[in-house]
Every structure is written in structure tokens, then in C-alpha cells.
Amino acid sequence: MVAEGNIAGLRPGQKVRSIQGRDRGHEYLIVGFEGDRFLLVADGVKRTPARLKRKNLRHLQVSPLVDREIEQKITGGGRVTAEDIRRALARLRKTEPEEGE
């Protein structure tokens, strides 16, 4: 029985950074997928679960870091709030200090 696939092993809750567009340099978490090219991302501030940003995969740099709490919530069919996203991004920044801005 096949598994539902995300784009090439990317996971909800995984951190990405914009490398193209006016939001260049901005960090987001993956919250959804659209087809095989687009990701739906949020930062919990300007881009909330109610107002997701749709980014082309080509315009993102993907970090290996995944916030498990967000991943579990999303894959479990639960809802994430803007606050959840902000907290998760803060947690991930702590685990990756060399990327702190």
C-alpha cells in the first residue's frame, strides 16, 4: 500500500529560507504541499496558517531541521496556529545558532 508522498522527502515542519523574491533571506516552516513544485509556508508573523505563502521550491533553500511538534500536528490532521509556528521557528533557531541573524 503506497504512502502519501510529499515533495521528495520534504516534511511538514521543516525549515526553509527564501532565496528569491522580496522576502529573500526570510525563514519559514513548511506547512503544506501543492503539486510537485510548490510549498505552502508560514512564519507565524506576516504569514499565518490563515494566510500562507506559496513558494516555488526553486526559490527556497531547504534546511535539514524539522520541528517534530509541528510535523506531528500537521500529519495527525490537527491545526497549527501562528503562535505554534513562531515558537517552533524560535526553537529551531536555538538548535542552529550558527544561522542566527
Partner: protein
């Protein structure tokens, strides 16, 4: 984290795999014009009972049957029922069991009677694509080598691979890490693990005659069909990565086969 199985775990998965191959072969042999998809499921369920194992799909996320039967433009996760097969149909059978806590999973597509040459080719190419992928399931290779091999073989032959569903690691769970896409992205991305001995992978290309886009039935929330209505085929084996040749776990050894005539794929 991709789990690597120990000797006793592999032994259990071999046993599970052997039963999957045997039962699927028996069901595939029964495919003929006039039989219903529900009767095929019944056969699988009877066999499960006879062998004293557990059907892996029944109740999995609420799936109502032991066998997935997907006909023609149905790609995967077809729910067996009163539908009667007729000559010219393509029928994909996907089946798994749990033996002492360990899963094995396999699938094949068989023609019903005589089918269109294009569909015969679809079946052949999908099966070849599975084997192109298996060939790359070697320690030291990256997962993307496997995905690429499948995709190239399919596209070279003018068909397309489904993107929304993927193969998977398998073992104590039906779906373990990693996801095994049957395609690679135009842009290389971070997550691309190196395969190691002891990893057990369910490799399963789903191939469409037309475009790769699919949709999930809003009625039953399971059946996946092609968007353009083109026919689809699906082959799968559960494979063990070793230091050398990949080992197919979902097959029947000649000794265990007991002279029984089996369909292999």
C-alpha cells in the same frame, strides 16, 4: 531515522514476504473476465486465515478490505466490491501481511483477457521500472539513484510516474522512513539518504499512460484515479538492502513453493 533490521527481524520479514507473494500469486491467477473485485478480496482473506497471519491493510487508517483492487484508470487503493472484471481491463492487486509484528507488502498489475497493446506495454514498462529501481537498492547508493532509475525508464517509454504517492520504508510499521519517490526533482534537494545494509524498502512505481496527475475519490476517500482517465499500472516488491545484491523479500523460494505453480513479477 531509517531503521536497519537485524537477522531475526529480516527472518520474519522474509516469512511475511513469502506469504504475500504466495497469496498475491493465487489471487492474480484467479483474475479472469466475470470475476468480481470483491471475490478477489475474499480469496485473499481466506488465504490469510489459512496461513494464520494478519492482513496488513484491513483497518489501516480505516481501509475496509484486505486487498486493494484498482481497475483501469484507478491507480491505487481501489476498494474491492461488486465490480465485475471484463476482458481488456487492467487490474492492480496490492496486498500486505503482518507476521509476528513485521510487515511485507507487494503489488502487481495483471491484464484481464486480452488488452490493448498500449496497455500491455504499460504493464511491461512498469514492471521493468520496478526492477530498474531494485537494481539501485544497494548499500552506498543514494535513494535518489533509485528514484531516478525508475523515472528514466518510465519516461523513456512515453509514460509518466505518479508524484503524489510514493514507496516507503517498511518493517514494524507499514510506512516507515524513508519516503521513496519514483521521480527526482529538477533541483537537487537536501534529503537524500545513503542506503545501508539492513534497510527494508517497499519500492513501488505507479505509472500512467497519460499525465502524472491523480485525484483521490471524494466519495470513498481512498480510490486514487488518473485525472485524465488514462490507464495506470502498479508493481511493488519489499526489498532488503544488503552488502551485495538486493534481496527480494516478497517472493517464494522454490523449497517453500512446494511445486505450486506461481506467478512471479
Amino acid at each position: 531515522m531509517i531503521s536497519r533490521k537485524s537477522g531475526f527481524e529480516i527472518e520474519r520479514m522474509r516469512k511475511a514476504g513469502e506469504l504475500v507473494a504466495r497469496i498475491l500469486s493465487q489471487v492474480a491467477k484467479a483474475v479472469a473476465p466475470g470475476i468480481t473485485t470483491g471475490e478477489l478480496n475474499r480469496m485473499a482473506e481466506d488465504a490469510v486465515e489459512r496461513f494464520g497471519v494478519t492482513a496488513a491493510f484491513k483497518g489501516y487508517n480505516g481501509f475496509p478490505a484486505s486487498l486493494c483492487v484498482s481497475v483501469n484508470d484507478e491507480v491505487v487503493h481501489g476498494i474491492p466490491g461488486p465490480r465485475r472484471l471484463k476482458a481488456g481491463d487492467l487490474v492492480s492487486l496490492d496486498f500486505g501481511v503482518i507476521y509476528k509484528g513485521y510487515y511485507a507488502d507487494a503489488a502487481l498489475t495483471v491484464p484481464v483477457g486480452t488488452v490493448a497493446p498500449e496497455h500491455e506495454k504499460l504493464i511491461r514498462v512498469t514492471r521493468e521500472a520496478l526492477w530498474a529501481g531494485i537494481e539501485q537498492a544497494r548499500a552506498g547508493n543514494r535513494l535518489s539513484a533509485l528514484s531516478r532509475a525508475v523515472q528514466e525508464h518510465v519516461e523513456k517509454n512515453g509514460f509518466s510516474v505518479v508524484r503524489d504517492f510514493v514507496g516507503h520504508g517498511i518493517g514494524q510499521e507499514m510506512h516507515e522512513e524513508p519516503q521513496i519517490p519514483n521521480f527526482v526533482l529538477p533541483v537537487q534537494r537536501g534529503y537524500d539518504p545513503v542506503l545501508k545494509p539492513g534497510m527494508t524498502l517497499a519500492i513501488e512505481p505507479m505509472v500512467n499512460c497519460g499525465g502524472y496527475r491523480v485525484r483521490v475519490s471524494p466519495e470513498d476517500n481512498w480510490t486514487v484515479t488518473t485525472r485524465d482517465g488514462s490507464y495506470s499500472a502498479h508493481f511493488e516488491h519489499t526489498v532488503l538492502v544488503t552488502g551485495g545484491e538486493p534481496e527480494i523479500l516478497t517472493r517464494v523460494t522454490p523449497e517453500a513453493g512446494n511445486g505450486e505453480e506461481l506467478i512471479t513479477w
